[in-house]
């Protein structure tokens, strides 16, 4: 319990530091929001007036404090680009799409890579292992945009299982949305599946060489009894960390895949906001990504306590 509280405090400090750094970074970039909004033709008077109105002249700590006070209430300000639209409402359109995409790909990754990784270790050196090894190498070597294009071509244009570009919002028709998202999710999942399969296979094999495995065999356990009863519990410990990194990455939104499949998620919003210098939006997304990463790590720490008795009291 004490540990959880300590971790939570570190977590909050991390988020504060990240949000401040990104806030400070954006205020250092030349060409501020007022200039963006009014364009190059604006007069200095117009610029000065708008700056004063937007609060851009206040000192940095003050602006950060303002922003933070808002952020704590869920108010991230208004978008510079879309006048009159709050950042919160922009994000609330995009976030569900990205989260849905992430969940779908996570289901794919878990469903495929766990059994496949274990099977490869169990039959290491056999044809299954050799075949999977080749395939995973291929899946990791293909750049994401190209993989996306291949999937679009095969499933969208040739097989016509989905209509590229014809995205349905989850609020309108969830089933239609999911059946569209399945394909970008596959594009996100494939390289990750390859990585997790390899990692898990390696972890199981290295555990198989340990002394306690010999002890387990000496008691009369079968090959499967040793694998499921003894080895997996140990082999999963490093895999959990690896998996957490994958989850955090996916939750941050796959910019390339969202772009290729025209999925209106956080990743695409981030790209357009950066090029539009729509800093309130960028700032909110940075905070979201940081929070997602930090929270996943927090969850992993807790999971570790469950999986590994050796870290419990430390």
């Amino acid at each position: 319990m004490k540990l959880i509280i300590r971790k939570l405090i570190t977590l909050i400090i991390t988020l504060l530091v990240i949000s401040f750094l990104s806030f400070a970074a954006f205020s250092l970039i030349p060409g501020d929001a007022a200039l963006t909004r009014l364009g190059q033709d604006a007069t200095p008077q117009q610029l000065a007036a708008l700056r004063a109105e937007m609060g851009l002249d206040d000192p940095l700590p003050e602006r950060y404090a303002d922003w933070l006070a808002g952020a704590l209430r869920g108010d991230f300000g208004e978008s510079y680009r879309y006048e009159g639209t709050t950042v919160a409402s922009l994000l609330s359109q995009r976030l569900p799409v990205t989260v849905l995409l992430a969940v779908l790909s996570l289901i794919m990754i878990t469903a495929v890579s766990l059994p496949l990784g274990i099977a490869c270790a169990r039959y290491s050196g056999k044809w299954l292992d050799i075949l999977v090894n080749q395939l995973t190498q291929l899946a990791m070597a293909i750049p994401p945009f190209f993989l996306g294009m291949i999937l679009t071509y095969v499933f969208g244009l040739t097989l016509r299982w989905f209509q590229p570009g014809d995205f349905t919002q989850p609020s309108e028709d969830l089933a239609a949305c999911l059946s569209y998202l399945a394909f970008p999710a596959l594009a996100v999942a494939l390289p990750k599946i390859a990585m997790v399969v390899r990692f898990l296979r390696g972890s199981v094999l290295s555990e198989m060489g340990k002394d306690y495995v010999r002890t387990a065999f000496s008691k009369g356990n079968s090959e499967n009894g040793v694998l499921y009863g003894h080895v997996l519990g140990n082999a999963m410990i490093p895999v959990v960390t690896f998996f957490a990194m994958v989850i955090a990455e996916i939750l941050a939104g796959s910019i390339v895949v969202e772009q290729v499949f025209s999925v209106p998620g956080v990743g695409r919003l981030l790209i357009s906001s950066i090029s539009d210098r729509d800093y309130p939006v960028v700032q909110a997304i940075v905070l979201y990504v940081a929070a997602a990463t930090v929270l996943i790590n927090f969850a992993v720490d807790l999971l570790y306590q469950l999986l590994d008795p050796r870290v419990r009291e430390a």
Partner: protein, 585 residues
């Protein structure tokens, strides 16, 4: 009568690409029901291989080329996997060398111990639980109920080895294979585990195959012995016969005693002087944790004089290695004084020669390094010095071009010693330098230490947990317990008339001494010896921080020991010990 195990013409081979390595060559032997068979040999001799083949636990790349293994008359190699699994864990069980790694780290002890019963019987969970607790009690773990709920990392090495024994014995197998079960343990714990094995054998009549490289242990426990050398049985017979009149040349070399000790007057000028040394580590937990102090060495005063070999004895975790680091100046959290004589240039020889030599460099480079540090810039000169040092440590100049991994453990240790000597060191600190070596190699390296000491008038601080080794080499010894010197004196005085209860316990635990004692040649165990003395039941007591360090385990303690640390008592001739029994009441 039919033997329990019958092995005929067994050959085991490891294919290595085109060629192959024969680990076991046409071995034949039997194990009778209820006997203890000792199997002795050095690492790589193939002594474990036939036992692993018997269990069906050979490494995957090993293959049985020929022969048969019969258990109760049935041919094991002709059985199906399922049939062999039924025997494994039920009729035959095994205990391994490394108690630290042989238990599953994420599974509770109770579950691991009861596993064989779950696999081989239909007993209800409650019954399994009861038998698990009973099995743990039988191996001397009094607090069995609580231990069931704990994990391996929460137990000491000795406790883990008891847990291993409990999980092997829970199904009452007729054969127990113990593969170096005491090698990784401290002296006292080693004696406890041996007593436990004897007790199991006595009470259950279990046949035991006891595999070890340690002759003294084999001699103590087994009635019959096989000597394995290069995959073959070179000698076989009753333990008494083999030890008293070895026939094979290898057995003779194994039994040959350690080199004779050189006389050391111990009157030279001090090379190393420690005074009231306290050493600690700083502990800090996390970013917000409190700073703490973990004291490792307490109030140590010690002097090593020119030309003496001073032995430092103690079990693992007693602070021996920290003491070395402090003397070398590698650890600076200490109070008190460390004086090293000018020009002594203390150098270290480590336990693990494989890990302490840079694997990416040649032996020549490694040996030249101290010369470069000394500022000898002439390459030819360096090469000449290295070549002559290689000869001096018993190798030859051709070794300069090799890399550490191409050398055996003994050869690497010779390189380590050579490197220290090339630094022109007058004070050698050897931290368990022969513990990782085979017995025959051990005696060679000890002989090298003795010769270097004789020829160069070296001062050596020789740290070891092995009392036989220390006695064979050292003129004076200091016994350390939990960071304090509890007894110090001339080796003969301490060995013949141990004064501190801990020293007595250590000496009583030495396998060779006990074996000898049974023949009526050496001293018997002190009063109260046996299971109780060796602490076969784990009792726990708390002492005050300023009390006697040995209070927890002392068989001769009294109430005052809990609170007061005794002052040293001088027995004359430099023999001192710290125990209240030496003090006037």
């Amino acid at each position: 009568m039919q033997p329990l195990v019958e092995i005929n013409n067994l050959s085991i081979r490891f294919p290595e690409g085109e060629s192959s390595f024969d680990a076991v060559k046409k071995i034949s032997f039997t194990v009778g029901a209820g006997e203890i068979l000792g199997v002795v040999g050095e690492s790589g001799s193939g002594k474990s291989m036939s036992a692993l083949a018997l269990m069906g636990l050979l490494p995957r790349d090993a293959e049985v080329v020929s022969g048969e293994i019969r258990f109760r008359g049935q041919d094991l190699l002709a059985m199906t996997d399922a049939e062999r699994r039924r025997l494994r864990g039920q009729e035959m069980a095994m205990v391994f060398q490394e108690p630290m790694t042989s238990l599953n780290p994420v599974m509770k002890i109770g579950k691991q111990v009861g596993e064989s019963l779950r696999l081989h019987t239909d007993l209800p969970a409650r019954e399994i639980r009861e038998r698990t607790v009973a099995a743990l009690r039988e191996v001397g773990l009094a607090d069995a109920e609580a231990i069931c709920e704990r994990y391996p990392h929460e137990l000491s090495g000795g406790m883990r080895q008891r847990v291993m024994l409990a999980q092997a014995m829970i199904t009452s197998p007729s054969l127990l294979i113990a593969d170096e079960p005491t090698t990784a343990l401290d002296c006292v714990v080693q004696a406890q585990i041996l007593e436990l094995l004897k007790k199991i054998h006595r009470e259950r009549g279990t046949a035991i195959v006891f595999i070890s490289h340690d002759l003294n242990v084999i001699r103590e426990i087994s009635s019959r012995v096989l000597v394995v050398w290069k995959g073959q049985i070179v000698e076989e017979g009753s333990t008494k016969e083999v030890f008293s009149s070895p026939r094979h040349e290898y057995t003779r070399r194994l039994i040959a005693s350690y080199p004779a000790r050189e006389p050391q007057d111990g009157k030279g000028k001090p090379v190393l002087r420690l005074r009231d040394l306290d050493v600690w580590y700083e502990t800090r937990r996390g970013l917000f944790g409190k700073k703490g102090k973990k004291q490792v060495i307490r109030g140590v005063s010690l002097t090593a004089r020119e030309g003496e070999i001073l032995g430092i004895v103690g079990e693992s975790g007693c602070g021996k290695s920290t003491l070395c680091k402090t003397i070398l100046g590698l650890h600076n959290r200490y109070a008190g004084t460390v004086e090293v004589a000018d020009g002594a240039r203390p150098q270290m020889v480590f336990q693990d020669p494989a890990g302490s030599l840079n694997p990416a460099r040649t032996v020549g480079w490694i040996l030249e390094e101290p010369l470069r540090l000394r500022g000898i810039s002439d390459r030819e000169e360096r090469k000449r010095l290295v070549a002559s040092m290689l000869k001096e440590v018993g190798l030859d100049a051709s070794f300069a071009g090799r890399r550490p991994r191409e050398l055996s453990g003994g050869q690497r240790q010779r390189i380590s010693i050579g490197a220290a000597l090339l630094m022109d060191s007058r004070l050698l600190i050897a931290d368990e330098p022969v513990s990782a070596l085979d017995v025959t190699v051990q005696s060679q390296i000890l002989a090298l230490f003795a010769r270097m000491h004789r020829e160069r008038k070296l001062t050596i601080l020789f740290i070891s947990h092995d009392l036989n080794v220390v006695r064979s080499l050292c003129g004076r010894i200091a016994v350390i317990y939990r960071g304090e010197i509890v007894e110090e004196g001339r080796a003969d005085d301490v060995y013949e008339h141990p004064a501190h209860p801990y020293t007595k316990l250590l000496l009583a635990s030495v396998a060779g001494r006990r074996a000898a004692g049974e023949d009526g040649r050496g001293p018997e165990r002190p009063e109260g010896a046996g299971e109780a003395f060796l602490g076969l039941t784990d009792q726990k007591t708390e002492r005050a921080p300023e009390g006697c360090v040995f209070f927890d385990r002392c068989p001769e303690r009294c109430a005052s020991c809990r609170d007061k640390r005794p002052d040293p008592t001088d027995l004359g001739g430099g023999h001192t010990f710290r125990c209240r029994r030496g003090q006037p009441a």
